[in-house]
């Protein structure tokens, strides 16, 4: 999936006074991809997007668009339209005028403006609302107007800053597929900032996870989900159990650790680089890969005795909250049929275990 680079961040730093919002950003955005930048608030994801849009100037480093540095280009001279969290539709203009705005600012003639606006209004299925005021539209319709307004200039890249956050859950899902299809059909590069894992993972080709102004991991949703590269990512995704301990042996057969919850083993291939014996290491195991039993499993590997402290049912799956003797919380996610027959009362003693193939060593202990 090697593609041409459209945008590159080269050693980009952004400071606000003494506060460093973004430190040493180095990554590329490929032509035609759907890239999601994800992280909790204050992680620098919006600042990154705003630097790309030219709303903030980088304190250090270079941002290139199609190879050309754009650091000194004012916002209005870049073709990097953005869809805003608040949508920022002009309330004093009607739908058509909103969509025509960018063309008008570029000096496009009236007839041409109307033709192109019409085209995008139809494409976004809002042609019938063209003469309406923004205040008369529903949330989903506004979303479409905002998209049409940004796409009418047919840019190479579209920036989206948490555009779905104001919508209710059902509409959110519908708009996700609208966005994904739009991106596929137009081939325009989408850079989508969000704090929502489900949005990022369901739409993006690649996901960038940021924390405190630093990129923690870049990869496809599957890569990130299966093998979180850092402890932060594992924590942030919240879908893995995390065990920390001392490395006791490293060999062809596997890596062994001594953790608070007992000795553990994982396949040697599941570590990006071989750890040093005696160092501290962290293992992540997806909560769906954890096994549960009333008696200790026969193989005796990676077995942790636990007590049930709670359970939560979400649709077809259930999440069990367990606690080790040392007080560490462990989550196990299972289908209901897998749980039938297990005693799950609060306080019930059980054993969890996981296979050495399912454990992954992450960077940064």
């Amino acid at each position: 999936m090697q593609r041409d680079t459209l945008v590159s961040f080269e050693g980009v730093v952004k400071r606000f006074g003494a506060y460093v919002a973004v430190q040493k950003l180095d990554f590329q955005i490929h032509k035609g991809e759907f890239l999601a930048i994800m992280g909790s608030s204050g992680c620098g994801k919006t600042t990154t997007l705003r630097m790309l849009a030219g709303l903030e100037a980088p304190s250090e480093g270079v941002i290139r668009l199609s190879g050309k540095p754009i650091n000194d280009l004012p916002t209005w001279s870049r073709d990097t339209p953005m869809v805003w969290q608040s949508l920022a539709l002009f309330p004093f203009l009607n739908v058509r005028e909103n969509v025509e705005f960018a063309l008008k600012m570029r000096g496009v003639g009236k007839a041409e403006r109307q033709r192109r606006a019409e085209q995008w209004l139809d494409r976004m299925q809002i042609g019938e609302f063209a003469e309406r005021n923004i205040a008369q539209l529903s949330g989903g319709q506004r979303q479409r107007v905002a998209l049409a307004r940004s796409l009418v200039v047919e840019p190479e890249i579209l920036l989206l800053d948490e555009p779905l956050s104001a919508l209710d859950a059902a509409l959110k899902v519908r708009m996700q597929s609208v966005l994904k299809n739009l991106q596929r059909e137009t081939g325009i590069t989408f850079v989508y900032v969000t704090h929502s894992q489900s949005e990022a993972f369901s739409m993006a080709d690649r996901v960038v996870i940021m924390s405190r102004g630093v990129i923690e991991q870049i990869g496809t949703p599957q890569e990130i989900y299966r093998t979180p590269r850092t402890r932060f990512v594992a924590d942030f995704l919240g879908s893995s159990n995390i065990f920390t301990g001392k490395v006791t042996s490293v060999g062809g057969a596997g890596i062994a650790l001594q953790t608070d919850s007992g000795p553990m083993q994982l396949s040697a291939s599941n570590a990006a680089s071989a750890p040093v014996v005696g160092s501290t290491a962290t293992v992540t195991v997806l909560d769906t890969k954890m096994r549960l039993s009333v008696t200790p499993p026969a193989d005796g590997v990676n077995v942790v005795p636990v007590r049930v402290i709670g359970e939560e049912f979400v649709g077809a799956t259930a999440t069990l909250y367990l606690e080790t003797a040392k007080g560490q919380e462990i989550r196990v996610q299972k289908g209901h049929e897998e749980l039938t027959g297990l005693p799950l009362g609060i306080g019930q003693a059980l054993f969890t275990s996981w296979s050495p193939e399912d454990g992954h060593l992450v960077a940064g202990g």
Binding site: E56, A57, T75
Partner: protein, 281 residues
């Protein structure tokens, strides 16, 4: 996003700055300079002489007028605050949203309509043969001499301050968290007690600021003391006009004016400090 100064930014920020420096700051600064000028043969001369300050501050008339003005303005601030509060309270808590909007709408109107004409019209009510005395006469009372009294001056101050006081009080009252009042009731705090124990402390900043504005407006007002109070007792504003009229004594008038500004600054400082006391944590 751009830190440096732009022509665009200056186009919007500079005009007001220039105007207010030229025509607001400079006149006030000039007033300070003027207070050190001297007057010889009805002509002012640039000078640096403290004579005007010494003369004014040693005059009994000045301190009498100062005391009168201070007491009157304090009384007006207290009276207006007390009379405006039930009105602001009722508008805030007893009216529907729609009625409240109308009340605010109506209260704003007098704030921007000629105060002088309004004060002037009070003469129709207060004069010896005016409406109030005629009405009292019908029930066998009076006539009372009301015009050219301190009471009439106070009515003038009320005319000046009441709408603004209601609006400022109202503004702080509508922002009180209603659940605080319900919580007080829930803890067996009665209606009236809740007003004193919860509502007034919650709205303190607004109430103090409202009283401060009443003080400032009354302290500097010259219309009511002249047209309703008949110029007696003399307030500082009357003293200023008298001083300018008598022998070009503008420098002495400047002394009075600056003393007033100093007093207002001190009162404003104390009031704001009191309003925010214990709030800035």
């Amino acid at each position: 996003m751009r830190r440096h100064v732009t022509l665009y930014g200056l186009t919007f920020s500079l005009p007001l700055l220039i105007w207010q420096v030229l025509f607001f700051v400079f006149p006030l600064v000039f007033l300070v300079a003027l207070s050190f000028w001297t007057v010889k043969n009805f002509a002012m001369r640039p000078d640096f002489d403290t004579i005007n300050w010494v003369t004014m501050f040693s005059r009994k008339v000045f301190w009498q007028a100062y005391g009168t003005t201070f007491v009157l303005a304090t009384a007006a601030a207290a009276l207006t605050s007390i009379l405006a509060f039930p009105c602001a309270y009722a508008i805030a808590f007893k009216l529907s949203d729609n009625a409240r909007r109308w009340a605010v709408f109506l209260m704003v109107i007098p704030f921007f309509t000629s105060y002088l004409v309004r004060v002037y019209s009070w003469q129709i009510f207060l004069s010896d043969a005016g409406i109030i005395n005629v009405l009292l006469g019908w029930i066998g009372l009076g006539p009372f001499h009301m015009l050219n009294t301190v009471g009439a001056t106070i009515i003038g101050y009320l005319t000046l301050c009441f709408p603004l006081a209601v609006l400022l009080q109202l503004f702080s009252l509508v922002f009180i968290d209603r659940t605080l009042i319900e919580a007080a009731h829930n803890m067996r705090c009665g209606r009236l007690r809740t007003v004193f124990a919860v509502v007034i402390p919650s709205a303190r900043v607004g109430l103090v600021i409202a009283a401060l504005f009443c003080f400032i407006l009354s302290f500097g007002d010259f219309v009511s003391p002249i047209y309703l109070g008949g110029g007696d007792p003399t307030t500082l504003s009357i003293l200023i006009t008298d001083t300018t009229k008598s022998g070009q004594q503008w420098p002495r008038a400047a002394v009075i004016a600056l003393t007033m500004v100093g007093t207002l600054l001190a009162v404003a400082f104390l009031a704001v400090k009191f309003a925010y006391k214990g709030r800035t944590k």
